[in-house]
Assembly symmetry: C2
Amino acid sequence: MKKAPTIRDVAATAGVSVSVVSRVLNPDSGPVAPAKRQEVLRVIDELGYRPRAAARELSAGHALTIGLVVTDLSNPFFARLADRIVWEARGHGVQVVLMTTQEDPHLEADSLDTLLDRSVSGVIATPTGRNIEKWARLQDLGVNVVFVDRTIEELADVDVVSIENFDSARRSTEYLIGLGHTRIALVTGPRSTSTGRSRISGYRAAHEDASLAVDPLLIRDVPFRGDSGGDAVGSLLAMSQPPTGLIVANTAQVQSSVRRLVQGGIKIPEELSLIVFDDNPWTELMSPPLSVIRQPLDMLAVHSLELVLGRMQGKLPDGPRLIEVKADFLPRNSCAPLTQTAIH
Amino acid sequence: MKKAPTIRDVAATAGVSVSVVSRVLNPDSGPVAPAKRQEVLRVIDELGYRPRAAARELSAGHALTIGLVVTDLSNPFFARLADRIVWEARGHGVQVVLMTTQEDPHLEADSLDTLLDRSVSGVIATPTGRNIEKWARLQDLGVNVVFVDRTIEELADVDVVSIENFDSARRSTEYLIGLGHTRIALVTGPRSTSTGRSRISGYRAAHEDASLAVDPLLIRDVPFRGDSGGDAVGSLLAMSQPPTGLIVANTAQVQSSVRRLVQGGIKIPEELSLIVFDDNPWTELMSPPLSVIRQPLDMLAVHSLELVLGRMQGKLPDGPRLIEVKADFLPRNSCAPLTQTAIH
DNA sequence: TACAAAAGTGGAACCGGTTCCACTCCGGAT
DNA sequence: ATCCGGAGTGGAACCGGTTCCACTTTTGTA
């Protein structure tokens, strides 16, 4: 176990001062005679020298690192989002420190502290909705924060990248209404989250447009964690007048909801028309293939990274940016027109 | 944008020297009078002081950080593995820097360099199989390396955590043979990887035990990336004497393989008995639910982290450790006994 | 009561980079 | 011939922690 060479080793070997080596390392930080530059580069290569990131960060006051704070990677949505973000970041020479919150504000707070310790220059996060002062403090300390997927209204100064939640919910609801359904259930995220609220609004808007009354019992805002989606589906099916259409708009609960339907032997789309908000290709392989609102993860990842990096380089105008990307509706075979026989 | 307090600010406010504050920060690094300790803690809390990680790392020579190097997070196997590892690591106060290789040795090499710059004290990786000298150098520089899922035979000194590949392949093959199948196809990873080779060996062993000849054309070792699984399935189905059983042992190719079967309208299990190596709960929701070799991700994650942390603390005896965890076979409804009618 | 060992403390060097600044050259303009 | 400005260079301070060591104050024991 030998130890790695330092900038002083390089300087000594090349017969120059550390200042010169540093200037070679960071072009534009000062002049270096072409001959010496050559020699220094040769020595660097010969010794296999690489600058220690910690030293650089200490001196610079901040790290070429961003934090990615998501709920958990078991959710394909976050997994694929993380995948894209890590990929995009590496192209810019930026590393990603990953933290998961399990939707727990305490864990989220811990994560933020840790990222602060690491002097990350940016954070991309799906916030739990709490820790408002903590997020504000982070920004106050010069960390560029971008919220992705969700937002926190109280934090006016944060950049946000999300899909068109209102519109997506509205379109899927309209689609089912167009097929003749009048009792459409909605399983979505908690009302305490921006996504939960927007999707409910979209759902309501579609009903209003069609002059259809909304039965509040058909709207289920359930937690992201656990089997709450499945439970909600169970209770919806047990209603005296069960829904004939169902939209599962809580990505994290798609799986448990669908499991409940499959295990209950519900015939899709004969007994129930189904649309899910999804990021999982498996929906296509089911029988029948499920109609989905496909979330454009690449766009979410690219935009959020662009924002963070742009802020880091100060290339962006002041003031928060809100980017909403369109989510495609992919009708497949899990929806059917409402017929008399569909009512069981 | 104010700036954060330093250890010297704390020392000045508390009326002590930085040494004392440092000793309070790191218990067991020296004595501190109880009264002063109290006061220092009070000031730390009052100022909201947090030690900068970069400064600590520079001084310590290594970071409380580990690198996690996997192919990509779109693969649920790696996503869930990463999830568990991040979770376990945080319990130990260790951060995880995530890098993806896309199975590209160049990207892998880059990642290792970057991790080296960051002075990570450990790396958990699914190696591409190349960069042998680079891995060796990493170890030489004192970085604790643990390979998970795969291994590189040339690197004798590395800890490895994997599932019982040989045994898993053997058992699933035996199961199909037990159902009367004689033409069983195997789609697995490249022969250049340890997993690919072990699974082929297990498959062969099951055939030998049953005194069954192995048709080499039924063994397809395909790359991890791309649609190679689907292509292999297509070509298998097009054989003059197509298989009646199929084992997809390449996790990354399960999805494309199954898609090919579904799109081809193959009846499962009537026309083809199917077993997949899987980490995706969706297999249970398909019709029919697929029989799977379930990979115990928690165990892989826990063990690999235990190894890395153990090495970091020097708590582990010298010499490489090989940990193989058992993977459960979950028979569901995608396999059926071979009957005359099954032969199309 | 004396004296060694242990507890408690602060000064200063160190980790490995970056950056400011003073200094030496040199060529070109006056 | 003189002066000026910029290219090129190295010394040294600095970033914010940790740690070694010398020193003073307790404490315990003979």
